[in-house]
Symmetry: C2
Subunit: 224 residues, 2 copies
């Protein structure tokens, strides 16, 4: 296994990344091929597809005591207090550490890279395969999915505090951040209204706090 | 990367395997975990899901001259005479040789193995990951898919010739084989009514020929 490409994304770190692909459609990332696979022949015809699969590596996993996975994990959507088998979840801590994401193909760029929307990958993620999304085989809208059946709530209302520095952000970044923040990036069941969280996104760092389903952006500054 | 499991399937060889998962739903296969991952904890809760993803290896690829892929391939559904980029296809001959299939989860067996329906994998295929199918993230029925938008025709009518030995087959095998054969297992655009093809399936070998959209099963015998 060798990476065929790497992801360039505005997610500088894991904190804030939506829990699946497609939850923050306005997030624009790029797939940049390594030289061996950068010839445009490799993607000839891919522009006929609106969506593609990416098989990628969870390269940001920390390996406490050298261990990369356990047989069971505690999915955040079960409140973090119930154990499920790792193969019954999409946890990043899994044997072989492979991720799977369906993303929107926005453009095939002149330099051969692919612009994609809705990716849930941190900047620098290695990509092992790209496949076209085939609705007749891949789209199973009636599939049953137990504890993970519903789309996670994007329930937080976003308030950009006056003088937070919002004007430093482009309209595209603002729209993407509103999708990301509405998903509630806090660890499962955190409820500490006085706590200030820090989210790194693209060239920026945002400070925010959450109280009563309102997420308040306190300050935006350029990352140093 | 190490296999977490291997597929036990009635597809003894590549010939006859449908071109995507889900095209022959009656085909029942099993995912048998390697000892390291066979503890039932690893799949705890997976029975809440009707479908699962399998990321697997195309281990049957032949490597002429040591080469495992080319930048472009000729997809069978384009008649085999038009080249597309390998990342714009689901061709098995691709960098890293990873396959991706959505299959129906039929049962979690007492021995810990998983029974699945609709798999498109040859017996002995190595499995690298299993993930639950999440409709809210994975099901994109409106996705555009250009040259691969339509489900391949299952257009052949099956005739079991008298005295072909059909009675040796179970009802389940007959139903699965009717789905498989209707997909037309012949190489793209073969049209040789006199030719006899041989399909190995489970313990059996079938001889058949095709003329005017009718596939005639000529003989069934036990594989030696």
């Amino acid at each position: 296994m060798q990476p065929i490409a790497f992801i360039r994304s505005p997610f500088v770190e894991k904190f804030g990344i939506p829990r699946q692909s497609g939850l923050a459609q306005r997030v624009v990332s790029r797939i940049v091929f390594v030289p061996e696979f950068s010839h445009p022949d490799f993607t000839r015809g891919i522009d006929q597809f609106s969506h593609i699969w990416i098989i990628w590596g969870f390269h940001c996993n920390t390996h406490d005591a050298g261990e990369s996975f356990h047989a069971t994990v505690r999915p955040p959507r079960l409140g973090g207090n119930q154990r499920m088998g790792v193969f019954a979840t999409r946890s990043p801590y899994r044997p072989n550490e492979l991720g799977l994401s369906a993303v929107r193909l926005l453009a095939v760029n002149e330099d051969g890279s692919l612009s994609i929307g809705g990716a849930d990958m941190v900047d620098g993620t290695p990509v092992y395969d790209i496949k076209p999304y085939l609705p007749y085989a891949d789209a199973l809208p009636g599939a049953q999915a137990g504890f993970a059946a519903e789309k996670p709530d994007a329930a937080l209302r976003i308030v950009w505090q006056d003088s937070c520095g919002k004007e430093a952000l482009s309209e595209g970044h603002i729209q993407a951040l509103e999708e990301i923040l509405a998903q509630d990036p806090r660890p499962a069941y955190h409820d500490a209204p006085d706590r200030v969280y820090h989210l790194c996104y693209s060239l920026f760092e945002l400070d925010f706090s959450v109280e009563n389903s309102v997420l308040r952006v306190l300050r935006i500054k350029h990352r140093s």
